[in-house]
Symmetry: C2
Amino acid sequence: MVSAQRFVLATRPEGEPTRGNFQLERIEMPDPRPGELLLRTQYLSVDPYVRGRISGIRSYAEPTAIGSPPPGHAVGVVERSEDSQWSVGDIVVADTGWQTHALVCASDVRKLDPGLASVTTSLGVLGMPGFTAYAGLLKLGKPKPGDTVVVGAATGPVGSLVGQIAKIRGARAVGIAGGPQKTSFLLSDLGFDASADHRSKDFGDQLRAAASDGIDVYFENIGGEVFNAVFPLLNPFARIPVCGVMSEYNSTSSRPGLPQQLLRTVLNKSVTIRGFVFTEFWDQLFDRFLTDVSGWIREGKVRYREDIVEGFENTPDAFRGLLRGENFGKLIVRLSE
Amino acid sequence: MVSAQRFVLATRPEGEPTRGNFQLERIEMPDPRPGELLLRTQYLSVDPYVRGRISGIRSYAEPTAIGSPPPGHAVGVVERSEDSQWSVGDIVVADTGWQTHALVCASDVRKLDPGLASVTTSLGVLGMPGFTAYAGLLKLGKPKPGDTVVVGAATGPVGSLVGQIAKIRGARAVGIAGGPQKTSFLLSDLGFDASADHRSKDFGDQLRAAASDGIDVYFENIGGEVFNAVFPLLNPFARIPVCGVMSEYNSTSSRPGLPQQLLRTVLNKSVTIRGFVFTEFWDQLFDRFLTDVSGWIREGKVRYREDIVEGFENTPDAFRGLLRGENFGKLIVRLSE
């Protein structure tokens, strides 16, 4: 028997999650049944969407049950295999949740080639966040050369790829991020054309200046005040793919509220607002995404940044920091051996 | 010289328009120049979108200037022609504004065949409102067989066609209208599957019952409380074409407000909200629209209702009643000889 640790949801957060919402447990892992693999987690992805799942509100997915681990993809090594396709030692990515070990169905697992790219990229730029950026921007945002594309949380794994793909497609990339260190990074390292600091008092003016020709695509992953600042700047036929509303995940009551004129602006400017979850496009587009984005990384057209936290025990704090924007790049927890 | 009358915008309305916002003028019509026609108006269309234009707020079109006539399509007869393609006595449809006579460019005019359909249909079911329904529903709403399609102002020229085309495409049609006379008409005369009375105290319950399988397409021409009642009933991948927000045109201050959870619902249910103006699809689709809808009328698959007000002098009052939902069918003013 393998002894494992996991975090489970102890209580549902009201507003910002606390350390006490999560409880560390020791469990003995059962043996894998036929078709299953036992994985040991090496890297665990910590993502904003988890805040929605632990709220208990039904969204596009079932909420995390009290007593169960919050969801999360992880890079793991196969420790035991009851499926002929997989061998002990294989490196895979799977949705394990916040656990040091997991039993997974062999068919739900994707094999990684550590020679091709750093395995952690499978949790970020070459994983679900990168795919969300790629599919949402290209299928729904549809940037044309010369368009202005605006994205929030722009140093994160979704936003940074949205801006860089926009550039590859000949559009102007405007990134919104919190604080001067992040906004500088957008210009100096990721090649964005302009930036705006949503923590700055003159954020609205910064955004207007950064998007002086108006906004053709707003890739929405923030919501709240950022959405409200973007809205008056939309151009006719603007597209707004919505993949997240991170600023609202912790909200307990009525926040800034939406622009009263939202529907009128949608009408007057023939705006498209379109929510999506990456799964909609996965089967159709994942292979092309991997080919395109890994190629762009090799060619130096796409850069990515990871923010790696050491130690499984720090997962809840890392998650809480993520919701406050304290991470800088894709947040990943590295598990000790 | 021909002596004409016209209504001009005297002052901009605050909230509900008053009779005093419009002023009746007598003018002498100048002679048509080369390429122009002088029309005598027979039927004038009075439409909700006019409320937006006279507000002075820039929308998808320039606002009506003070001292100019509000916009409106009309059926008119050519009284003088300075274009070789047109003869005195031709019956045409053109954007004349609220006038008994108009000078128009020959190239902006569409000829009508009075033998084919009642000429008034060119202002309603076979004109701009009908085209708005056809293009918005088919290009943006994309109803599939079995879908539930909900539309407001459902006895009006847009809503009634939306519901009937939904039926032709194998979807369920649910109409929202004000008062029992109109909701009964939806079921008995237009073949809608269900209805809900937005003036009724239990409107929300009525709508929930009428759309018991949820809502796949909401064709938005109302806004306000109707939008808010529809929102929680949306199914995954619901589509919301927005062609108008009639309930908000008279609003002076903050009305009910939008659902706080709007973006989260858009995300969780992969909803599409898409504003449009009929002109977007005109060149591409108008001929097919005329063929399809006139065919459906002949086959008895599409019915329409007109609400004809006698006398040009009653145009402002007819318009004011329209914004209160007092008309029953496409509102048209008939001008005396």
